[in-house]
Subunit: 464 residues, 2 copies
């Protein structure tokens, strides 16, 4: 693909083959840094998008980052900061000279400043707020009064609005006048009533294509949604995704227009939510690839500790059957199979359920149909693998009865796994716990305990 | 939040509290269906967004869907079809009367028709193609000549373009003329040279805000990217996300403008990619919550079968130590703990790695730093849990040596788990296999085999 960057001074063209930040680019940059060649470094960085520069900073080491920041003299640092992983922002902000930080922050729109500030400590927040012009500072402080992770924090307070009785010509003249402040990104003009309540919006495309005399009310979009300023950002992102929105006006308790959220901010949230789900299901919380050893260790530890407890629980079950195992050592060889198959089936079931809950595809309307399906699937797969394991038991250890024990335990565990995999996330969701976070531990506890108990218990009955 | 839907006939207002399709709505709809009350059904459906109607159809049962389709008489069926889960599209298309299908398909833009067609069988594709007006049909057939999952399939061939030497006034007059075809969604005007090659684009916002005499070249965006028509859709979605794009022009081999991809299509792909990753990591492939029992069983079976093989492998390792277990039955009680901790640590590591590979945060530039980090994290956590398990072994079974065996095996397995969790996805990616798909099985095989071998092997040496 081709990317061209245009500077005020002329056209700066650069072909890059593919979006991957190839090792060569990173190497050239580090060579400039080592040679302390500011000019060459700025030249390379100028051809890159801030998002790619942020990626590079995430991939190099701490000391290399500091050298980079010492040397870099260009003007995209503010945007780079917005794109940077939260884990690295503090480090970079601390490494910047006060003047550089001021310059960087002044480049940004107020919603990006809010995003930057949210994760910083008080003193750093103060530093940044002091660097802003008065009006921006007011907007940012206003945004910070809204709850964290709410629509109020995502929105841009400057909205292009027009009284609902205006015509196309009025709107265009207004936008061309000096008094109008037009945000970097806007895609609609919001119509408001005399009480400043939004009543519809017009896409810029329709605005452009319609004659000047057309009343704006005649070309509003069919479907119009607004969001309260304290709505959770996850719900906002869901709406953007579900209804294919490009922008959505934000209203306060009185229904008055207070801001606009655009698709780029919603997409960041959507991305974060998907990432969170993937990482939570595996018990790694907010682990990022750029985290250091100690942070990573701390973030993985809780889940491992919980799993240690569940593993010990399962071992307690096994220990009830020590005598049985002592007599038929084959049981020790085979028991992990039943438990592990149950664990895998349970994980499949719970992953589909957690994902469906997150996308609102699993609701009160269809949960019992899904439970019924999970039980049947567990039964069918269970029977199939029961047959397979029965044969394995027979061939490997020459015992028909061992085969039966394996088979029955397998069916039981697979059905229980399916049930647990769907019921546990749903139950956790109902009591307000994030199913992605906690289901895994509960489900594997159930499948391990049931797996070992069914297998060893049946063995005790049938073989002794 | 509030949602208002406007009909040509006037303003139809409806407040819905929250985006969740509450059970009450689904129930009202099913009541209308059972009462065979077309008018009431159409009235309710008219107030809903097609995406929500699709969700409802996904949540009710097969027979209920057919009754709904028999009865529903409104005109949003085409959009609903686009929003429907792929697994259900075939069923719904087959259930529609030919006239209804024709009407439904004619509502859609050509890129949505392409998306609909892609997953259908030949005869059904033919039915739909025959329903289209000739020009749309040509556009769709052209799109189908591009590889599946490529930019060519996502794009809208109609692009709002202007010769690069035009001024703002020329562009606006053109868009207002009868000859211009303006797509439902467009956010930029693409500037082209005499060879029809794109040289930049102008946002509608800037177009509106600039005086008529302004040359378009003066208000183009700083950053401009195009994508080749055969680029993989995953790369397209990555670019939209990474660079916060709203639209991106598509060019053919000669660099000529052939279409435009807009954010709504890219977001669907992004969403699908994230969902695929989550589901693949758990081995459920394309399982959707609306799938029926048999489809679900078939989709989960392969992963379970693979895991059965790896579980048997692990059991073979255990069976080498039958004699040891016969003598020290405590080993059978404790061995699942070491294996399971290794499995969990390995899964944490592999999930972070797979996600980082997908978001291009793990590349040749930082892979060895990450490997080193994983080994250290495995070591630190391993030592901690080794201490914990050593104490457990001592307390539970009263044997210092058992404690040592547990501790050493734990450290070994945690370090190996960290290594495997990062190296296996990277290796799979390098040989062109999707790491999300296959890593899990390999990593747990390694941790199980190493876990059992280390524990039982050390036990054999130290206790006998």
């Amino acid at each position: 693909m081709a990317e061209t960057q245009r500077e005020d001074s002329g056209a700066e063209q650069r072909e890059s083959s593919g979006y991957k930040l190839e090792k060569p680019i990173v190497q050239s940059i580090m060579e400039c840094v080592e040679a302390r060649d500011t000019e060459a470094l700025d030249a390379i960085i100028d051809t890159l998008h801030p998002a790619d520069v942020a990626d590079i900073l995430e991939q190099i080491s701490g000391p290399e980052r500091r050298e980079f920041l010492d040397l870099y003299d260009g003007d995209i640092l503010g945007e780079v900061l917005s794109e940077l992983d939260e884990g690295l922002r503090e480090e970079v902000i601390n490494a910047l000279q006060p003047d550089d930080l001021t310059a960087a922050v002044r480049e940004l729109e107020s919603d990006d400043v809010v995003d930057l500030l949210e994760d910083l400590e008080e003193p750093q927040q103060e530093r940044i707020l002091e660097a802003l012009p008065a009006s921006d500072r007011a907007a940012v402080e206003q945004a910070l009064t809204y709850p964290e992770f709410s629509a109020g924090r995502l929105m841009q307070p400057e909205v292009v609005r027009a009284p609902e009785h205006w015509r196309v010509g009025d709107a265009i003249d207004y936008m061309r006048s000096d008094t109008a402040y037009l945000p970097e990104q806007f895609y609609h003009v919001v119509l408001v009533d005399p009480m400043m309540r939004p009543t519809g919006y017009v896409t810029l495309g329709k605005l452009l294509a319609s004659p000047r005399e057309t009343p704006l009310m005649e070309i509003v979009e069919d479907s119009f949604r607004t969001v309260p300023v304290d709505e959770a950002e996850g719900e906002v992102a869901y709406a953007f995704n579900q209804y294919h929105l490009i922008s959505m006006p934000v209203v306060d308790n009185g229904g008055q227009l207070v801001g606009m959220i655009t698709i780029d901010d919603a997409m960041v949230v959507l991305d974060e939510e998907a990432e969170e789900d993937i990482l939570r299901l595996a018990g790694v919380g907010e682990n990022r690839i750029s985290d250091r050893v100690w942070d990573t260790t701390k973030r993985r530890f809780p889940w491992l500790a919980v799993n240690l407890v569940t593993a010990i629980l399962a071992s307690i079950v096994i220990s009830q059957f020590e005598a049985v195992i002592a007599q038929v050592v084959a049981l020790a060889v085979l028991m992990p199979i039943v438990a592990s198959m149950g664990g895998n089936a349970g994980t499949q079931s719970l992953t589909v359920a957690v994902r469906a809950i997150a996308t609102k595809d699993l609701t009160g309307a269809n949960v019992w149909r899904v439970v019924r399906r999970e039980v049947l699937v567990g039964l069918v797969n269970g029977l199939f693998f029961a047959l397979a394991m029965g044969i394995v038991g027979l061939i490997w250890f020459g015992s028909m009865q061992l085969g039966y024990v394996l088979a029955i335990a397998m069916v039981v565990n697979m059905v229980v796994a399916g049930l647990a995999g769907i019921l546990i996330p749903v139950a956790l969701e109902k009591i307000g716990v994030d199913p992605a976070l906690a289901s895994g531990a509960f489900v594997t506890t159930v499948t391990d305990v049931v797996g070992f108990f069914a297998f060893l218990g049946l063995a005790a009955i049938m073989l002794l």
